[in-house]
């Protein structure tokens, strides 16, 4: 099974980075989250309900739809904030990439650690631009809003190809497929990483890998 990989690219102004990343990550996670599983006897389970929330962006003409889960929102916001800080520290012409990877865990025997097998990776490349005046910022608001709309359509198109999805697990294996740590929703196991490209844009001079959901270290 090959991991499918999708790349999305956006050019945004510095103050739009947070919202643009949140918009795309939440859109993906909306599709990759289910309600909480409740296992019953005889190997059956029922699924909880996922609510949604509209969030208006402050710096972009865009409204994103996210799963109604404050816990999940906090985790994503934290990751995006770290990415933005890293972008800011790297230099004025920030270019970077944030990746959302969905994976499955495969238990290995001791002393080997569990294997993480990615099955879908979304990479969002960001190019931060600097704008000179308010008029340009106004145009940028609208343009980035339209661009994000196009990206949402791209995401939906990929997801609706209905390609590989992990099989629904038994109760004992649910933690190998889903992140069951949240109270109200259950996304597939995911991790968010990011890389910052230096201003030359040639090679990755500093690669910082921060694992928000750390499953590799044992």
């Amino acid at each position: 099974m090959n991991c499918r990989s999708e790349v999305l690219e956006v050019s945004v102004e510095g103050r739009q980075v947070d919202e643009a990343m949140l918009a795309l990550l939440h859109t993906i996670l909306l599709h990759r989250s289910t309600g909480k599983f409740h296992y019953k006897k005889e190997g059956t389970y029922s699924i909880g309900t996922v609510g949604t929330q509209d969030v208006d962006c402050d710096f972009i003409d865009f409204t994103l739809v996210r799963v109604s889960s404050d816990e999940l929102d906090r985790v994503i916001r934290k990751a995006v904030a770290e990415f933005k800080d890293a972008l800011g520290n790297s230099g004025s012409d920030g270019m970077g990439q944030i990746s959302l990877e969905f994976y499955q865990k495969k238990k290995s025997r001791w002393p080997f650690s569990d294997e993480c097998i990615p099955w879908e990776v979304w990479s969002i490349k960001v190019n931060v631009v600097n704008l000179a005046n308010e008029q340009e910022r106004q145009i940028c608001r609208e343009k980035v809003g339209e661009k994000l709309g196009e990206k949402v359509i791209n995401i939906v198109e990929v997801i609706n190809r209905h390609e590989y999805l992990p099989k629904m697990p038994t109760q004992s294996e649910v933690d190998n497929v889903f992140d069951t740590s949240l109270k109200d929703v259950q996304p597939y196991l995911y991790k968010i990483t990011y890389q910052i490209t230096d201003s030359l844009g040639t090679s990755v001079s500093t690669t910082m890998r921060r694992l928000i959901k750390d499953t590799l270290a044992l």
């Binding site: 029922s46 609510g51 949402v152 939906v156």
Partner: protein, 503 residues
């Protein structure tokens, strides 16, 4: 074709398609209400949330959808469409988008109905939630209010896209294969907002005037009891409203079974018909009505029976539905410049100013002119303080929007500023004011600066710049050219001498 499908699977599939169609309509209409939608996740399944998604059911919308379907299901050659259109206060309307739920003949025999199809339909609904916020009509619907409202219409049968104008775009939300065909959900949306631009051509050019709407007392401030639209749990009254029409609310409790990967999956479905009261029905309380604004129904009465604003004119297969909504803020519609002829007279400036002016109705307002006479005090715009308005009847849009608090102050201000390149906010009427330039008042002279300015504001064209004259002279010039050349050649010595004197 259905021979491979067990009766239970067929029954399940029909049920899924029916409720998917109803939920699709709910998502689309709710996304065009003009406000943000918020539903809660629940870890314990209530049994009433189809496709494991918290999508509220507005009874009016469900009712309309069921009427349009009339007991049928979307199928091959039978598409269910939701048409979203915009209607201005002057009665012009324009189709903005058409959402189509169709089925084609491509079957997927091997797919598991109760599991895979169900989950994919759930995914498709999530995609619909995302896409409905992305099409251009979303932004328009968020800004509806004074100038225009958004309407919906549900119809069943052939897809009609001719009303979308030229160059409409299509976006596919997604597809789900089933054993009886492939369900596709798509949206065709208009890209050419020609209605807006053609209105501008009908108006005359702008004439100097001051738009003083922000000094005008809002005509309906006494209706402070109006509330923004909100979802409320129904009282017992609503159950009665639709009791005769709806069948018992069907609810799907889905439980899935898992097994080690080597075994087959199976599922069990059970249907419950709870009492109406327990189902989490919600519907917005409409705060607009087609009737006279003073007759506006107060939300909060009687458990919020869904208002019947422009309740659909029932055609055979089509219904118009008015989306009850409250405008969320100012409507930054790119309004054409107002044309108000300045029929303003100022009686002797030395007396207490008594201003008679003719009020011309500006853009997007129905009523015709009204003659108003007031006596003004020393206040510059006191003339526009309390005055009797001739209220516009049957204008569903004239009511002040109690805008909900924006999520951030910046956003609130940005929403009012980022108004599609228009700076002015034309509210109700435009009132012409006698132009009084600052510091220019002079009682002694018969003509003051303002009058002078107005008189000489539009001077006649210079004769030499008028096109007709130049066209004529051009022809004459060409004709007289040879003669002139002959004269110049004869006097060439004179010209040379002249040039020498210059050096």
């Amino acid at each position: 074709m259905d021979s491979d499908l067990s009766p239970q699977d067929k029954k399940d599939l029909d049920k899924f398609i029916k409720f998917f169609a109803l939920k699709t309509v709910q998502v689309i209409v709710q996304a065009r209400l003009g406000e943000k939608i918020n539903t809660c996740s629940s870890s314990s399944p209530t049994g009433s949330d189809w496709f494991n998604l918290a999508i509220k059911d507005i009874p009016e919308v469900t009712h309309e959808a069921k009427k349009a379907l009339a007991g049928q299901l979307p199928g091959i050659g039978r598409s269910m469409c939701v048409e979203i259109s915009l209607k201005t206060s002057e009665g012009d309307s324009m189709e903005l988008e058409t959402w189509c739920l169709e089925m084609n003949e491509k079957c997927d025999k091997d797919i598991k109905v109760s599991y895979t199809v169900y989950n994919r339909l759930s995914l498709l609904l999530k995609s619909l939630l995302a896409i409905t916020r992305v099409t251009p009509a979303y932004k328009l619907s968020r800004k509806q209010g004074h100038d225009y409202v958004i309407l919906y219409r549900i119809y069943f049968g052939d897809v009609q896209l001719t009303g979308l104008g030229e160059g409409f775009q299509t976006v596919r939300v997604g597809i789900v294969g089933t054993p009886i065909g492939t369900i596709t959900l798509s949206c065709a949306y208009r890209t050419n907002l020609a209605l807006m631009s053609s209105r501008q051509f009908q108006r005359t050019g702008p004439i100097m005037g001051i738009i003083i709407d922000h000094y005008v007392e809002r005509p309906f401030t006494n209706m402070a009891h109006m509330h923004p639209c909100s979802y409320r749990a129904p009282g017992e009254d609503e159950g009665g409203t639709y009791a005769g029409i709806e069948d018992s609310q069907e609810v799907c409790t889905t439980s899935f079974s898992t097994s080690p990967p080597s075994q087959l999956y199976s599922s069990r479905l059970s249907y419950q018909t709870p009492a109406l009261g327990t189902v989490d029905l919600c519907h917005p309380t409409a705060c607009t009505a087609a009737a006279h604004p003073h007759q506006m129904v107060v939300p909060g009465k009687e458990g919020g029976v869904p208002q019947v604003p422009a309740q659909p004119t029932h055609g055979t297969a089509a219904e118009h539905g008015r989306i009850p909504s409250c405008p969320t803020g100012q409507s930054p519609q790119p309004a054409p410049p107002t044309s108000c002829s300045s029929e303003v007279k100022t009686v002797s400036p030395s007396d207490a100013l008594e201003t008679t002016f003719t009020r011309k109705v500006g853009a997007f307002v129905n009523k015709a002119t009204t003659q108003v006479t007031t006596t003004s005090l020393d206040l510059p715009f006191a003339a526009f303080a309390p005055r009797a308005y001739d209220l516009q009847e049957n204008d569903p849009m004239v009511h002040p929007p109690p805008s909900p608090a924006p999520s951030s102050p910046l956003q609130g201000s940005l929403h009012s500023n980022t108004s599609s390149h228009s700076g002015e906010q034309p509210q109700d009427d435009f009132v012409m004011v006698d132009f009084k330039p600052a510091f220019s008042k002079d009682d002694l002279l018969p003509m003051d600066l303002g009058t002078f300015y107005k008189e000489f504001q539009n001077p006649p064209q210079l004769a030499s710049l008028s096109i007709d004259v130049s066209v004529q002279s051009m022809a004459e010039d060409l004709d007289s050219l040879p003669e002139k050349l002959a004269i110049y050649e004869k006097n060439i010595d004179e010209f040379d001498a002249f040039v020498d004197t210059l050096q």
